[in-house]
Amino acid sequence: MATVTEAPPLAPTPEEPKPPRKRGRWTPYWLLLPGILWLLVFFAMPMIYQASTSVQTGSLEEGYKVTWHFATYWDALSEYYPQFLRSVLYAGSATILCLLLGYPLAYLIAFRAGRWRNLIMILVIAPFFTSFLIRTLAWKTILADGGPVVGALNTLHVLDVTSWLGMTEGDRVLATPLAVVCGLTYNFLPFMVLPLYTSLERIDPRLHEAAGDLYARPVTTFRRVTFPLSMPGVVSGTLLTFIPAAGDYVNADLLGSTDTRMVGNVIQTQFLRILDYPTAAALSFILMAAILVMVTLYIRRSGTEDLV
């Protein structure tokens, strides 16, 4: 639990200049009680149970006992470090792709869409309401062997490059890392677009005009004015994309192969099929700690405090 309690408030709330109320000193506690109790019992307590499970030994038949067997952590890491590295690599690639793809879309909605703005917003949000599993399965059709997408990539010799990079194999895309990254990028793109849009929308368009009046070219305006002002959106967008992507196992399972398994896949298999609870708990704890450390460092470095 140490990692949890020591983590800084990652999304500090903006200033709330409300005067304190004199009446009802106990009211806030009554309002908080049920929800906070729910989170303590079903979010915080499970973490403690998981920590204790990760240092247990025993077997399913005879039951598990806490023996402070920290070697499980070492064994899990040395056996599954390729999956850990893969998770960071895939989630990182997907996050960068999401930023590159999502920025123009967010910019379009914020500044250029005009009366189409609402429609485009709906089209970005609506997929949230349709099952993401069904949409992920649709990528199997899109990336099918010998399909138009694979054919086009082959003709453009893109697959030669990606094969050389180890992202694809031969003239297949399905069941390769490229397919998994493509699925991850697709699934978490809205989580990048929405925060980017929110922070772009707050920018006063007159700042653009001012930059233009000062003879800044569009590229300079973007680099010196727009992008720096959208940094809160970039930071929260990359976090909202990277964190769930690093723990995802659906894309790697549906679009990948046994060579593209990520940490999530290992945790899922250990927990639900092999029933090796200590190893599974240790893996999930390492993943959580790694992400909390990365997120904390990232927020420190990017130096932005107002995330929401």
Binding site: L10, W38, R112, L133, I142, A281, I291
Partner: protein, 266 residues
């Protein structure tokens, strides 16, 4: 030259629209393949046009049962998370109290945690307590992970509220209950509605946390997951298409209502 200039000027628009196409391509494929008549178990290749699946959406055994189960869970998870979340949001915005920072962190952490970590830890809790996995464990899990999102949505709205409106109501001799029902709640309503909508969508679509804590109970996403291994019926695409259409219509309708309200006020 003019074409190049035009392209240059509209580069952002073109790139943005391409991203939008990337985002919507799977939905288009899902719609097209809902009219397919597949040979064999898998619906991944186009064979011939057929409306059979649309005429008999519940023709696959267990699918509509899982759908109705998911709708029930999503409904109760929305009710629970919205109620608890709204209370927390009001407490956080309207009152100063000890442990605010701790509460804020506790609200934020579930959103910053990979789903698989929460799913696995919750399962260890349920296993340790010897709980029967099923409807109730799914509901408990869904309320837990929807809660933070509701708090964030409602907080954003309540924070932008002018507290003087409530003071004015009280100056006009409205009691605390009357002030809350007649002034506070109507102003906070859009935030609460947004939180509820988000909770419903998150719960209805959740797979990872449900997969860990459902036992042998099958929700709709779990049915889709299972069918990806066994063979996907066309009806799944019908449900996917229908959900997309309903979502678009729903959002359009809520926007229309919002616009009319604005015009009435103006």
């Amino acid at each position: 030259m003019t074409v190049v200039n035009w392209l240059k000027r509209n580069l952002v628009v073109i790139a943005g629209l391409l991203t939008l196409a990337y985002l919507l391509l799977p939905n288009v494929i899902v719609t097209i393949f809902s009219f397919n008549k597949p040979k064999g178990r898998f619906n991944y290749q186009w064979q011939e046009f057929s409306t059979a699946a649309w005429r008999d959406p519940c023709g696959v055994s267990d699918m509509c049962g899982s759908l109705s189960l998911s709708l029930q869970i999503a409904f109760w998870a929305t009710v629970g998370a919205t109620l608890l979340g709204t209370m927390i949001a009001f407490a956080l915005v309207r009152y100063r109290f000890r442990a605010r920072g701790a509460v804020n962190s506790l609200i934020f952490l579930p959103m910053a945690m990979p789903e698989v970590v929460m799913a696995a830890s919750l399962l260890t809790l349920f296993l340790n307590l010897g709980a029967q996995l099923g409807f109730w464990t799914i509901l408990i899990a869904h309320i837990m992970f929807c809660l933070s999102f509701v708090v964030t949505a409602v907080k954003a709205r309540v924070m932008s509220m002018d507290p003087r409106l409530e003071q004015a109501a009280q100056d006009l001799y409205a009691g605390p209950v009357q002030t809350f029902v007649r002034v506070t709640l109507p102003i906070a309503a859009p935030g609460i509605a947004a939180g509820a909508m988000l909770a419903f969508a998150l719960s209805f679509d959740d797979f990872i946390i449900t997969n860990f804590n459902a036992g042998s109970t099958v929700t709709f996403p779990m049915f889709v997951w299972g069918s990806a291994q066994r063979g996907t019926p066309v009806q799944i695409n019908v449900i996917g298409t229908a959900m997309f259409i309903i979502a678009v219509l729903f959002v359009l309708a809520s926007m229309a209502i919002g616009n009319r309200r604005k015009k009435q006020k103006a």
